[in-house]
Symmetry: C2
Subunit: 507 residues, 2 copies
C-alpha cells in the first residue's frame, strides 16, 4: 500500500489534468456558441472530440482505478477532507459507469449521435419523422445496452434517471407526475372556464436590442450575478457554462420582436449562473465543484425566472427602469397589465414557449413515452401518433405536423433520455424551496418589491449553492425543507398565483 | 523497424494530440486578452500552464523520438509528402532543442519569467531599474546556459537569433544594421535640416469609437481578410493568433483620442492575419502550418501598415469613406495633409510609437546591447546608462527616466532575447518584397489607388503565405527576390517616400 500523501498527490495530479482539459473544452464549447467564425467549426469540433477522449481515458485509466481504490480504503478515506471524500466518491461513480462501456461502443455511439443530430435537424425541417426513425431506434438500442451494462433496480429507466437526477426513480416520478397531471389539468380547466383573455400585445412591438441588453445586464447585476466572475454574451440558444469556478458565463438571445424571450432567458440563465458562481471555494479543484443535478439547477433558474421574474413585486421594482428604456412601447400600459401579460396561460405545441402551468404537461408527455420506449412497451415508429394523442389528452391541442410535435426538440438525437423529467422537477423543487424560504424570510415579497435580492441570494447560497455536488438532490431537498420531494407546493404556488392573475373565484 | 504506415499513423497520433492541446491553449490565451472576467485569470493561467506542460512532454517524449527517428531514415523519409517531410524536420528540430533542457531547469525558468514580468511592471511604474536588475541577471544567466546546452557557431547570440529568425546571424546583422544606422541617421539629418513641421493636429480631436470600429472592419475586409475564418476584437495590446487554420483572429485597441493608433494597429494585425489565413491547406494538420518566422511575419504586417496603409494612394482610395465617417474632424483637411500627418517624422523615446524612419534605430539600440549582454562584454547594471547614451547618439534624444528608456518594453522580462531584430528585419524584407512585387505588378500604385487589393494579396499568397513554415526566411527571400537579404531596398524606399513627404531636394 502506497504512502497516504503520495496517493493523495497522485490523485490530485490525475484530477488536475482532467480539470485543465475540461476547462479548455468548456471554453471551446462556449466559443463555438458565441464567437467562433464559421470556418473554425470543423477543426474546433475535432479538437473538442480529441480532448474529450483524453478526459475519458484519464477517468477510466488504471492509474485512476488504483488511486481511487487506495483512497477508498477506510484508513485512508477517513483522513480525507470532506470535500476530497465527495470528490473521490464522485470520480469512483464515474469510473464505474464508464469503465464498463467498451471503448469501440462508446466511440460508435458518439458518431451515431453526431449524425443523428444532423439528421434530426433535416427531418424537423422537412417534417419527416421517417428519416429520423432508424437513428432514434439505434439510440434506444444503445441506451438499453447501457442499462444492461450498468444494471438497474426496479424500472430499467431508473438507470437513465440516475445520470441526471440521482435518487429519483420511475416509482417516485409516476406518483409525482400523476399528482401534477391531475391537478394541473384541473387548474387549466378552471382558467379556461373563467377565461378573460389577457392582452399581451405590448410585447409584439419592436424593442430596441441595445436597450434590451442594458436591461438584461442591469437585472443580472441586481440579482447578484458577479461580472468579475462571469460575462453575458449572445448565442442562438441561451446557456450557462462554468469554465472555472471564477469564470461562469451566461448567454442570452435578443430578438427585436420578442422582448419577453430575451428578458426571461437572461434571468433564467442568471439563475443557473448564480448557482455555479456560488459553489463553496472549499470545493475548488475537486470533482464536486458544480451544481449537483439538472433538476436542482433548473430549480435555481426557474425560481429566478418564474417565481421572482414573473412576480408582480419584481415588475413594480423595475417598472421605472423598464418604462424609461422603452417609453413608446409601454406608455399607457400599467405594471399590473404587464404582470398579467407575462403570465398569460395558453396551451401550445412547443415546449420551450410553454407557460408555467402547461409546461409540466409537455414534460409528462415525453416522460411517459421515454419510459415505455426503454422498457419496450412501445416502439419508435409509433411515437408520432402516441405523442399527438397525449398532447390532445393533456393539453387539448393536437399537432398537425411532427415538426411541431415529436420532432420539436434536439434532445433525443443527442442521446438525452432520462433528462427531461429534471425540467419539471426543477419547478417542484423551486416551489418547495420557496415555501421554506418564506418561513426564513417572512418579508420575502417585500424583498423582491424593494429589489433586496441580496437576502434571497444569501439564503440560496447558504442552503443550496455552497454544497456543490457534495449532496445529492434528494439530500438537499430534505436538508433544506425537512421533507422528501413533494409536488403539492408547486401546485399550491400555481393555484395561488393564477387565481390572482386570472381573478379566479376562491374555493 | 516498424511498418511504414504504422509509423506514420503513430506520428500523426502524437502530433494530433499536440495540435488539439495547442488549439485549446491558443483559444485560452485569446480569451484572456479579450473576454475573460478578472476572476478567471488565475485558474485559466494554471490550466494554460498545465496543458503547455503536456505539449512539452509529448514533444520530447520517447515515443516522439522513436517515431521521428524512424521517419527520418532515408527509405521512409523519401516516401513522405513534402508537407510531412517539413513537419517531421520541424518537430525534430524542436525535439533536439527541448530534449536538451533539464525539466527542472525549464520549470524554474518559467517561474522566473512569470515573476520577472510582474516585477518589471512594478519597476517600470516606479521608474526603478534596481528592483528589476537581479531578475534580468538571472534571465541572462539562463540564456547563456541554454546557449551552452544548444551549442553555437560564431557569436553565442546566434543561438538566440536562430529561434526567431533561422539563418540570421550576428555576422549578417552587424552588416545590415550598420548600413541601416548610417543611412537612416543621414536621412534623419536631412529631414531635420529641411524640416517644415507637419501639422497632425487633426488626429488630436476625439474620434467616435464605433465609427473607428466600422472603418477598421471595412479596411480589413477590403484587404481580403476573411471574416469566415477570423474575427476582430479589442484587447489592451493588439495581436494576431492562429487558433486553427480556419480561425485566425486579430485584435485592435480603440482610443477616442488616438485615431491613428487603432487605425494602423488594425491594418498591422490584418497583415499578420492574412499571412496565417493563407497558409496552404495542404499544410493543415502539420507542424509547419504557420508563418515561418517573426521577421517574415513582420514583413507582412508592416507592408500593409506602412507601405500600403501609409501611402497617399491608400488614403485617396479611402478618403470618401473616412471623411464620411468623421465629417467634423476632417472637414477642411485635404487627403494630402492627412498623408503627410501620418508620416510625420519625430525622434521619440518610446519604440512602439516610433515613426517609420527612427523605428529601426530603437531596434539597433537594443540589438547592440543584447548581443553584448550575452557575450558578457557588458553587465546588466550598466544597461540604463548605455541605453541612454545610445539613444542620444543615434536619435539625438536622451531619456530622463528608465521607464521611458531601458524599462519601456516587457520583452526582456519574458525572456525574449534575440527577438527584437526581427522587427527591423520585417521592414527590410517588406521593402525587398515590394521591389519585386512592382516588377510583377507594374501598376502596383494604381492597384492601391483603386482599392484592388486582391491582386496584391494574391501575389503575397503565392509568393509567401502559401509556403507556411516549409521554407526558412532566408529561403523565401531568395526564392522570391532572387537575392539574399539586402537592406538597400528599405533605405531606397524611405528616401523616396520621405523626399516626397518632406519635399526634400533631390540628390
Amino acid at each position: 500500500m502506497a504512502d497516504f500523501q503520495a496517493t493523495v498527490e497522485n490523485y490530485q495530479n490525475i484530477t488536475k489534468k482532467i480539470r485543465h482539459l475540461s476547462e479548455a473544452i468548456s471554453l471551446m464549447h462556449w466559443d463555438l456558441q458565441t464567437n467562433a467564425p464559421k470556418g473554425a467549426i470543423q477543426g474546433r469540433s475535432e479538437a473538442i472530440g480529441g480532448l474529450s477522449g483524453e478526459v475519458l481515458k484519464l477517468s477510466v485509466s488504471e492509474e485512476m482505478e488504483k488511486t481511487l481504490n487506495e483512497l477508498l480504503k477506510e484508513e485512508y478515506f477517513n483522513q480525507l477532507s470532506s470535500a476530497m471524500k465527495a470528490s473521490v466518491l464522485e470520480d469512483k461513480k464515474e469510473f464505474d459507469r464508464y469503465k464498463k462501456v467498451p471503448q469501440d461502443k462508446f466511440e460508435a455511439y458518439n458518431i451515431l449521435t453526431s449524425k443523428a443530430q444532423a439528421v434530426w435537424q433535416e427531418a424537423k425541417g422537412k417534417n419527416d419523422f421517417n428519416t429520423f426513425q432508424p437513428y432514434l431506434e439505434e439510440i434506444i438500442t444503445y441506451k438499453r445496452d447501457l442499462i444492461e451494462l450498468w444494471g438497474y433496480e426496479g424500472h430499467p429507466y431508473n438507470t437513465l434517471l440516475e445520470e441526471y437526477e440521482p435518487g429519483i426513480t420511475v416509482e417516485k416520478l409516476d406518483n409525482i407526475f400523476n399528482y401534477l397531471k391531475e391537478n394541473i389539468i384541473k387548474l387549466l380547466q378552471k382558467i379556461n372556464a373563467y377565461l378573460n383573455v389577457l392582452d399581451d400585445s405590448m410585447f409584439q412591438k419592436p424593442y430596441n436590442i441595445e436597450k434590451q441588453k442594458e436591461i438584461s445586464l442591469l437585472i443580472l447585476d441586481k440579482m447578484g450575478y458577479d461580472f468579475n466572475k462571469g460575462r453575458m454574451d449572445e448565442s442562438a440558444h441561451p446557456f450557462t457554462i462554468q469554465i472555472n469556478l471564477n469564470d461562469v458565463r451566461v448567454t442570452t438571445n435578443f430578438d427585436e420582436h420578442s422582448f419577453n424571450n430575451a428578458f426571461f432567458a437572461s434571468i433564467h440563465e442568471g439563475g443557473h449562473g448564480l448557482y455555479e458562481q456560488n459553489v463553496s471555494e472549499e470545493l475548488k479543484n475537486t470533482s464536486v465543484c458544480t451544481g449537483t443535478s439538472m433538476g436542482i439547477h433548473e430549480s435555481q433558474s426557474r425560481f429566478w425566472e418564474n417565481m421572482v421574474g414573473r412576480s408582480l413585486e419584481f415588475w413594480l421594482y423595475f417598472e421605472d427602469e423598464i418604462k424609461k428604456a422603452f417609453p413608446e412601447n409601454l406608455e399607457n400600459v400599467s405594471t399590473e397589465q404587464i404582470y398579467r401579460a407575462i403570465n398569460k396561460i395558453q396551451p401550445s405545441l412547443i415546449r420551450i414557449f410553454a407557460d408555467e402551468i402547461t409546461y409540466s404537461l409537455h414534460i409528462i408527455v415525453r416522460y411517459e413515452l421515454e419510459k415505455e420506449l426503454i422498457s419496450g412497451k412501445i416502439e419508435v415508429k409509433d411515437l408520432p401518433n402516441l405523442w399527438n394523442d397525449k398532447m390532445e389528452e393533456y393539453l387539448g391541442i393536437r399537432p398537425e405536423q411532427d415538426s411541431e410535435g415529436v420532432l420539436q426538440d434536439v434532445h433525443w438525437s443527442a442521446g438525452l433520455l432520462g433528462y427531461f423529467p429534471s425540467y419539471s422537477l426543477g419547478n417542484i423543487y423551486a416551489a418547495q424551496f420557496v415555501n421554506k424560504m418564506k418561513k426564513d424570510l417572512p418579508n420575502y415579497h417585500d424583498l423582491i418589491r424593494q429589489g433586496e435580492f441580496k437576502s434571497i441570494l444569501n439564503w440560496l447560497k447558504e442552503n443550496i449553492h455552497c454544497h456543490g455536488k457534495t449532496l445529492k438532490p434528494t439530500e438537499i431537498i430534505e436538508k433544506v425543507t425537512g421533507e422528501a420531494i413533494n409536488p403539492k407546493y408547486f401546485i399550491e404556488y400555481l393555484e395561488e398565483k393564477y387565481s390572482s392573475v386570472y381573478n379566479l373565484p376562491m374555493e
